[in-house]
Symmetry: C3
Subunit: 376 residues, 3 copies
């Protein structure tokens, strides 16, 4: 059947080749992940000047660090001389400079070239021009967001407003005080599926009744298939018997200081395309960062955040972690079950979205705009 | 040297790139394996309604099953909604329907969409149009043959007549009562060679004297290099001291009921392109199915079939299995030895076929016809 | 920044895609490794007629052997009949012929077709035309060099003169009597980097002070970054406290018979593009052969050669082997650190060469000439 035959209850997904075409994936890396704001590392993981993390942003390795004034800086992880990787470790700490391990070209914490063997005998070398290539940075919600574009899009419009539009107001997210929370647990997932399957999965709850028994127990309205992201400002309500957002519905922790009565006993899910998912519940926040590394493979890092007091006290967070860890595994299994079928002739024109999934079409439109060969 | 210099004893093989070009392999998948009748699964492996097998046909995963009336049905293994694989197991049993594990879209055993969450609220959805995509099926010789083409070629012309032409008459195969036989042993081989090397190997016996000591012991005329498939209707005769088609020439079993005097003490090999080899001996039948999965990799499933009485009695079939298992391993080793050299400049224009191999040229012509860019 | 902005101290390297583009690598295989003289195997490893080695030259497998007269012969490792690999072992010994294990086509030690099943019944087959495809061979410095080109370039101009130009005179290499030395140790390295990164590394010593502590201890002038290959005829002098070219500067062996006073206590490094590095020190010689096998992977075989007397006596060569084995590992680690960054946007136009590296530019010019689409 072709898409023109679809009745009003059904709209088309993307055609299958969007999930399997390696060249299209390269274009997505270029136009999406290397041009938009990308949530790269947790700011608190850079706890002093010279602390650094290396992270894959699109097809680039980026070093994120702090300068001597404590400001966040990010650079392409490539020495300007002969192209060696400056940092090969995932994380580390330097004193006052990054020194290339090949020929000892040395850069200060703002990226400037400050030393190299024989450099004194090459007075014509412009140390500024030979500095590390800087990448734009922003801090928000306790994360460092980077952008590889020469002229980044508006952070407000492409990140902050997306969150505000989902929640209904700009203040709603502020209530959770996310940037003051502490990391309770981080779990990494290696998913053999295209990144768009992961986003599409996160955006709808039509599958919740089939694959998420624990989640629908806590959020009974999810059993009907209506997505948390379907209505602006709507958060799914906890079941009447449920005490907390935990794997068995048992009590969690005190609600976060700024969380309002309206927000209490509710779950909000937010997608910030292209690679961030945020889940808000009264006593903790869950942040997913996706790292697409191949057309059929996506790494996902998921952080569970609590008040510093809870973490310092050594309180048991395992029941809340286990709930969403199970949800994640159920979701990623589903994505991996779809990936191989994307190449089938049965999916050449794509599949269909039912009414409670129709808003995924907005993501497809958003993507088409990003890939269109025009000036932004 | 070029092919024009060849003397009459020698004709050319295909050029080397036919065995190494990944794009050509995709074209073969499309024009050969996805358009012709493909011997997919053993019919007896589907022993009741809802029993299913999943099998790779060309580049597609196909579910083969039986409906409630016991009739064989085959479908592309892709849910019409969001493209999840319906069945990920190689085999299994459902009660009355296939239910997608992602969003619970449910199809009856004839492929029709019969249920889905909220389906009642989508009355405009055409359940027939959203059913699983059906694939053509035929049963013959106890196997289910499928065809992915919209309009399959004639089964009689492309399968049955090929067997009849090799054996000389249409009745010859009937005598063996293959569809009444039982599976004695199945061995799977993972061969790192292009599927055409496997076919070409099977079609000639010029190599028998070099690599098949056990086989030439049983069939002395094979030592001279004349292929079983060279003469229409000819079966290679057992050596005078040989009692049965076994690894040591010891006695096998009673000859099959319908096998004639003419067929007794003879071995017949039949190639049904593109992916089936059949070996007939008086007391058992050996059927190979090839599954090409990459330009340089082919899976082969080989079944040894005996009368149900022999299998039920628990008689020792190991000596007849061992004979052809050894032949298979010897052949596949040879194919794997050729594969890497196909990319050599020494094989750019191909190699040569000696007179007892000239009939392989007919396979090359057959393939060229299939790949030609014309309506069949 | 673009290359036009570079000041006179800096010149450009090759653009990054030269190190990552798989198609360019195929062109290099064709125009460089399959057209130039290639140092393939050690002549002494072929110690009698019928002894053979198989070796990868460009994209081809080549059998190198000796005929009954003891002369070196080399052939493409492909049977002319159906393309089987003739020899799959890395080394071996045949009596008087190479017999294909598939159909028993048999070739004498000069490559002529001498036997095949049924060959007598095919009198029109030209045995000369169906012989193995011969490859040009030369012996020099105790190695067999092969060339796959129909018309090889001048061995004198492209190999011998390169060594003479580096050392200043043609006699300089002769003094070391390399072809009379014996193999003390062979170490193979599997380097995940493009072959050009390995050559460029070998050509400069700007990195020595950073990554080669043992080497700069023995050759103090290397700490200043001046490459052994920078001045014609110049050999780096041993430090005044150094007794020998060993990992701890302890004494090595007697100097080789022909080595002159001028050459004593000095280290000479020679690059013979595309794939040979030679190191000369007074008491031994180190020869590297590179085998590029993928755009990002290079195998390197390194031989340490001493007088036959030293090897026969069982003298301890471990301290001299350890020195350059450490240097090799330090160098190859650096190359592997560069490879992933070659794909970065930061290296799209390449990096820079400082004055003591400018001679690497000559290698780049040499390569450009080889790749240019003109008659040699």
């Amino acid at each position: 059947m072709t898409t023109t035959e679809l009745t009003s209850s059904l709209i088309s997904t993307l055609p299958g080749h969007y999930y399997t075409d390696a060249e299209l994936f390269q274009l997505e890396q270029q136009r999406v992940f290397e041009e938009m704001w990308f949530c790269a590392v947790r700011a608190a993981d850079l706890d002093r000047p010279g602390a650094f993390r290396t992270v894959s942003v699109g097809r680039e390795s980026v070093v994120v660090s702090r300068n001597r004034a404590g400001e966040v800086r990010a650079f392409l992880n490539v020495c300007r001389h002969r192209g060696a990787r400056l940092c090969t470790e995932e994380q580390g700490q330097v004193r006052r400079s990054f020194k290339c391990p090949y020929h000892a070209w040395t850069y200060d914490l703002d990226g400037g070239l400050v030393a190299a063997p024989n450099l004194a005998s090459m007075p014509d070398v412009d140390r500024a021009a030979q500095g590390l290539i800087r990448v734009h940075v922003r801090e928000w919600l306790g994360y460092v967001w980077v952008c590889l574009a020469d002229e980044p899009p508006s952070f407000t419009e492409t990140v902050e407003d997306v969150v505000a539009q989902r929640l209904g107001t700009a203040e709603s997210i502020t209530n959770y005080g996310v940037d003051g929370l502490a990391l309770g647990r981080r779990i990494s997932y290696d998913v053999r599926a295209n990144w768009k399957l992961v986003i599409e999965n996160f955006m709808e709850c039509y599958h919740c009744g089939t694959i998420h028994p624990e989640l629908t127990e806590v959020l009974p309205e999810f059993a009907d298939g209506y997505a948390a992201q379907y209505y602006v400002g709507h958060g799914a309500e906890f079941g009447s018997e449920v005490e907390g957002f935990t794997v068995d519905g048992s009590a969690g922790f005190e609600r976060l200081d700024g969380v309002t009565e309206d927000q209490d006993r509710r779950y909000y899910a937010i997608t910030v395309p292209p690679q961030v998912f945020i889940n808000l519940v009264p006593d903790h926040v869950i942040v997913h960062r996706m790292f697409p590394i191949a057309v059929d493979r996506t790494l996902i890092e998921c952080d569970w955040l609590y008040t510093p007091g809870i973490i310092e006290s050594g309180a048991d967070i395992s029941r809340s972690v286990e709930l969403f860890d199970r949800v994640n595994r159920q979701d990623f299994d589903a994505c991996e079950r779809c990936q191989p079928a994307m190449a089938s002739r049965a999916y050449r024109a794509g599949g269909v979205l039912v009414p409670v999934e129709h808003h995924i079409g907005e993501f497809h439109t958003w993507l088409a705009d990003r890939l269109a060969d025009t000036v932004q």
